[in-house]
């Protein structure tokens, strides 16, 4: 555990009332290791540690804590402030429906999250509407319809538009249908795609340009490694997403990608998914995520 490892570091430099330069460097190495093991991006960890170093140097060690614990507290507080405060996740549009576009790599949990988000809005008395804009993955449409059916939320897709519609048209007509039936929120589920697949990224750019989503959520697997920075920054460059979602947090991935995504795009984590069921949705708590990253 990080606290224990840092305690060991400081035990070797016992008797110090203040954290000095030398014992900071030693402890920073341990913290760096912990961050990298937690999948925080290398460059992000580096700049983060600079900030921690500044905060730690010359700081009085509180009487009630061991230096190790004090260091962890500094790191923890810095992580929390970087991850951003807890916030109202989705601001509703002045004129309904609020349009939410879901994007991300293959297999991260977008379709499942679409169902979760729909259930959440339904419970809040905001009638949701799901749009199945993934025409590529085998049985993607059926998957979303099954999820929608399980929570009695309407799903709009190829069955309604006809088989030749492309994702842009499905989104356009889906939002139109949502508006006509007075739905409060419309969630656009899209196909997973690589950030370097220009054609597929262009498709999202087009959907964004036409539908003016109020919210674009970048859905990311919590087990994402160093590539979080590359992928998130590319998605952000093309789409300027407004928030991210961390999925599969019911596993034991430390979730360092959350920090990387936040650092590199400036956008907050808005939701955490904690299971395969549609009920398994939480809003983001920076202190919990910080503790998890530090292990």
């Amino acid at each position: 555990r990080l606290t224990e490892r840092l305690d060991d570091v400081f035990r070797k430099l016992r008797g110090q009332g203040r954290i000095t330069e030398r014992n900071i460097d030693e402890s920073l190495r341990e913290i760096r290791r912990a961050l990298l093991e937690a999948d925080v991006n290398f460059q992000v960890a580096r700049s983060f540690l600079h900030a921690v170093r500044d905060k730690a140097t010359g700081r009085e060690v509180l009487r009630s804590l061991t230096p190790g614990q004090q260091m962890v507290k500094i790191v923890h507080d810095e992580l929390v402030s970087l991850l951003g405060r807890q916030m109202e996740p989705v601001k509703l549009a002045d004129h309904p429906p609020t349009v939410i576009l879901l994007v991300g790599l293959q297999g991260c949990g977008k379709t499942t999250f679409a169902g979760k988000l729909a259930l959440d809005f339904k419970k809040r008395g905001r009638p949701p509407f799901l749009v199945a804009a993934d025409v590529y993955r085998p049985a993607a449409d059926e998957q979303l319809r099954t999820l929608g059916g399980s929570i009695e939320v309407p799903v709009f897709g190829l069955a309604e538009t006809g088989e030749d519609a492309d994702p842009v048209e499905i989104c356009r007509r889906g939002v139109e249908a949502a508006r006509k039936s007075n739905r409060s929120v419309v969630i656009l589920d899209t196909a997973g795609r690589l950030s370097i697949d220009d054609e597929m990224m262009d498709e999202l750019v087009e959907i964004r340009a036409l539908m003016h989503p109020h919210e674009i959520l970048f859905v990311a697997d919590s087990m994402l490694g160093q590539d979080a920075v590359e992928t998130a920054s590319r998605f952000y460059e093309r789409l300027a997403f407004t928030g991210s979602v961390l999925t599969k947090m019911d596993g034991d991935a430390r979730g360092g990608a959350a920090l990387s995504i936040r650092e590199v795009t400036g956008q907050p984590v808005k939701f955490i998914c904690t299971g395969e069921g549609l009920e398994a949705l939480e809003t983001f708590h920076p202190d919990r995520i910080a503790s998890r990253i530090l292990g």
């Binding site: 049985a139 059926e142 690589l194 950030s195 087990m223 590359e230 019911d250 360092g256």
Partner: protein, 279 residues
Amino acid sequence: AISGDALDEEAADEIEEILIQADVGVDAAVEIVDRLRERLRRAESGAEQIFVSLRKELCQIAGGGVPFDPGAELTGKPHVVLVVGVNGVGKTTTIGKLARLYRDSGRSVLLAACDTFRAAAVPQLEIWAERAGANIVRAQQGADPAAVAFDAVSAALSRDTDVVLVDTAGRLHTKVNLMEELKKVRRSLGKQCQGAPHETLLVLDATTGQNALSQARQFHLATEVTGLVLTKLDGTAKGGIAFALRRELGIPIKLIGVGEGEDDLQPFDGETFVEALLE
């Protein structure tokens, strides 16, 4: 800068950075740099480029397996392949591609739809079966996956099928009850065909970071994994976690996924993999 043949502090740090950013992980990266230092010290020519040595070192770790060959002699009749892994990594898609590989080498293939849980999991596999010209055995939603596994092998035996590919539901390795379910599926295969499963492939997403170690350990404990499949290598992720896995568990990488189409599955080649990682 990295050039020449002596590994100074700066070069060592630079290499460590490259490796860590490729998801090799801190421990494995440090060990690789140490071994690289040793390799350079012992190099006869003396003037071997650092990068050449690094490439050799990585190839030595990653390689050594027998390249996957769908036309090669099969162990069982039917030859049963169990496919496992956490949620969303590409198991079902990999099975579709594998079916295509076996079909192209003249084998008959049957798919076992043992993901009886997730929405539209079976319809998804059915489309892949159709694409590859494979048969499929399925049951109703919520059926016992072990029963479907048993039925699939029975069907393969009665139809004299060459290969059975068993698709299972994604599951997090931390969920004890789901890992128990997987063990039950595995036992069920063995009941109907001695020696089955002849191959157990753990599918890993190349974008995964250090959690891949935890995944591999748990799946290996539960089902004795015989090979790894690393998917989504057509993206920007390097899949460096492969080195830590090889180093720790010794399980060979057999196949890599490089796209979403039928033909996007390749036998793993250490040299190509290392090349891509270092570029």
